[in-house]
Symmetry: C2
Subunit: 588 residues, 2 copies
Amino acid sequence: MKKLSLEIVSRALKLPVCEGDSLAEKIEEAGIPLSTYCRKRGVCGKCFVEIVRGDIPPPTEKESLLMRQKKMPARSRLSCLYKIRGSLAVKIPRGSLFRETNILTTGLRMSVVVNPPVKKYLLKVLSPRILNPASALELVEEGLKRKGLRVPLPLLRKLPALLQDTQGRLTAVIFDEEEILALEAGDTTGKNYGIAIDLGTTTVVVELVDLQTGATVDLATALNSQSRFGSDVVSRISHAFLSDQNLEDLRLSIVRQLNSLIHEMGERNHIPKSSLYEVVVAGNTTMNHLLLGLPVKTLAVAPFNAVFSSLDEFPAIELGLELNEQAKAFIVPNIKSFVGGDISAGILASDLARRPGNFVFIDLGTNGEIVLKKGKSLWATSTAAGPAFEGMNISSGMLALPGAIYKAELGKKLDVFTIGDRAPIGICGTGLIDLLALFKKKGDITPQGKIVPASRILPVTEGITITQKDVREVQLAIAAVKTGVRMMLEKGGLDPEDLDGILIAGAFGNYLNVRNSQAIGLLPAIARKKIVFIGNASLSGAKELLLSSPSRKFLKKMIKSVTHVSLAADPEFQKKFIESLEFPEVDP
Amino acid sequence: MKKLSLEIVSRALKLPVCEGDSLAEKIEEAGIPLSTYCRKRGVCGKCFVEIVRGDIPPPTEKESLLMRQKKMPARSRLSCLYKIRGSLAVKIPRGSLFRETNILTTGLRMSVVVNPPVKKYLLKVLSPRILNPASALELVEEGLKRKGLRVPLPLLRKLPALLQDTQGRLTAVIFDEEEILALEAGDTTGKNYGIAIDLGTTTVVVELVDLQTGATVDLATALNSQSRFGSDVVSRISHAFLSDQNLEDLRLSIVRQLNSLIHEMGERNHIPKSSLYEVVVAGNTTMNHLLLGLPVKTLAVAPFNAVFSSLDEFPAIELGLELNEQAKAFIVPNIKSFVGGDISAGILASDLARRPGNFVFIDLGTNGEIVLKKGKSLWATSTAAGPAFEGMNISSGMLALPGAIYKAELGKKLDVFTIGDRAPIGICGTGLIDLLALFKKKGDITPQGKIVPASRILPVTEGITITQKDVREVQLAIAAVKTGVRMMLEKGGLDPEDLDGILIAGAFGNYLNVRNSQAIGLLPAIARKKIVFIGNASLSGAKELLLSSPSRKFLKKMIKSVTHVSLAADPEFQKKFIESLEFPEVDP
């Protein structure tokens, strides 16, 4: 066979190729992230290259159409359709490369290639022929180079009129390469949006994502409207438990809130709900159950089993969410009852499963979820830290809202900092950690947690104090996390110093002072640079799942490999928990 | 390896086997149709054998449960779970063999193994365990030995209460081994029903089928209620064409009629609609489109393309049919515009594709659909015979209803026979054929179709005559079919005598006189024993598709291999059509 060469001038690369090779495949083999959005079927028109030297076959009808539309140079051809006939040199325009988008922006920078489950393709549907009169649906499938696509009946009913009105020029919205979600007149390929949701017990974050570019279009945050039925998971389960109507009230409350947040973002950005084709929800197990309207009774009593762990994508309309009528919903699967979809999403966003080395991933909230990664294995557990870190059951405690003391420093006197620089009205979780560490350093609190001054009250600032009971509450919360991390490390046969890193997820982490956290024993005393805050990894994971079909496939498989560890069932737990109640003797 | 033997005493068979072999597989290899309904997962309990001699391991929990329930001898074991350890002898009870059921009962006897897409399994769902608290859905999947089953949200919402109320004893209804359609309290495995429909332009036949035994429970026939909008396909298309409301009226008319027929049969047989899990509809392309509420405009104008050819199963509720809320609907796929699902079903029921030899399959109606099978190839076409065979456009014509002359004989005088032995009120298709053949034999009609008596009117019986125009109408209808068959044979390079058979489908066939049909040229002059009437093959095919998952998979593949022949587009057609207008010179 003749020896041929392919020169990629934009990268100063020269590769040996053979006659008959696919140009697109050769470019990919050279490690260049060529956009093969439609899986090299010549349908999406994203992999154009400019033939600088060599054979230029006449363009196909599709290529001519796309070249006019995209104003490409005349020497451009779709590399997925190009079979190599002789040596050639090509230039790859930037637009023909897969876009990457950042999903984690704090701590670790993680990016993802934009390759969403929901894709749009511009089609020129051919007219039927007298000799072989293909059906309208078959003609659409021909345009998509796919067969046996599922199509909803309402779309099929509109299809003939749509083909007539548009003279066959339409955009198909395809889910997972197997289902037509929508058929739209003309070229709407630029308008493809989805919604990523971090559904927390306290806070709800909704992100409007551009599925073509991967960009975040808008973000909205709100307190979970279910809070009026109970501030924590347990009180909401108890409420739902009492009657079916209560469960329905909880469901409707969150559904309406999500619809209103989505609607507001749509209005603000002039994006109609019909352009929203998928929603991905990452929440803890209880929040997922309440959103789905599933009974939560079994989550409250031993053995604490959920109704489901993972579900396939289903119509968003079944949730009551107002997106495109055929939009899909994906609930990020739980690992087990108390290790929910928010943690699965966090594991994904931090690439924990594929990160070389030994890591602990901690999500600090009412439940402290802990994931240990060692070698190729993942173990996950959940500890009942209680709501102290969210300011609950603390005399001056509050959520991390404006006016909350989130940080404290000890100079000549005690300096406190509040969110929004307002007059202090209470203390949130990170503030509590700082204050306890500082009071301990001053000697106002013993390592056993006893307040030394006879008043048993430590003044913080005007009207705000820390009581002996407050210290006890925080000690319990810390001990839960500390015991959890300790037992997980034992499970993996690791000492803290064997860890390559501790990844801390949750909005909480943004303000957490590592030195103070180590001083009171919340975090192990390892090198501080190994402790990384990764922000809202649950939301980042939801966004990644919206943007990347391969990530979604990876997640579905990955979560099945996670081993669930039930700490409460371990007879050692109680003993170690009591040992963990004391603060460390020495500061780090 | 030790040489072991397996003796099947109920069949007087002895086979060599190896240690570790699966008993079920060895029995199947011996050609015995063992019921492996659950695909050998030990779930359905249908493949029990009695171990007459040899190793009997202790029964599993499932086996004990099933043995008690089915009152099996203590030496019985599920052959799918049994691994061979030493030589053994077994007896296979009749109940462990796959049932067969007849689907075609006239002409050719065809039977099918009952192995439906909708299956029921009795489960004992285990309780969750504290150390590894599987979700309720996972526990159900464990019972089914399947993972990642799709489950509708409403079912998931009821699941915890159902598990509690039944102590885990429930019946799962599974579609195509991948989706849970229903979860029912206790053992309902004996109540699994489906509906097969032959949706004809003139007549609708609805069959209630037991999906466990394959038996027909009940059958209902009615005139298609859409007839009031137009008696034939063309007039209904024209009506639908005028407004969206008309299309909706046509849709609702047939949906309501089907619901009412299904409801009546359910009442009569004490089968609630919740026990109906699937409906299969075989109809011509226009009838399918109208049932689905699809625009039919393109069916009326060249190139006569349909909106769809084949669709995956979808929820029956989307059609408006009242079965179980999660029931499925399957529309038997069309081959091309004018060769509809009724023909696909007929090809299946007659096993045309796999039948060795050369065959012509004819479905006589307003359209005469003709399928030629030669070697491994299938060609299909449709000829516009017009409604003469249904008695339309004939002076004394009528449908095959009570009082219609369906048969005539020439003795000393002309004897006519009517349906229901009533006073004659008109002539239906088969009667017309007999009468024309007899008048031609008597010399009252020339081979050119001219009526000899000067009156140009042939009296049949009191008040009923045949006019010159009537003869011309029938000549046109015959010529369409005759030309079709002739051109299809030419396509295959065959002479009529090369045929191994002509299969005639349609209720029409039941009364058709072969000699008279040959005398007027409707059927080729081949040996009469080669001409077989197979009855309502469309309904038989629908029933087979309801009962056999392998048949459904076969059909989906098979129809793609059929080559559509467009006779109207062939320049030879007009010439041959005119040649075919003459009756044969000599009688057969």
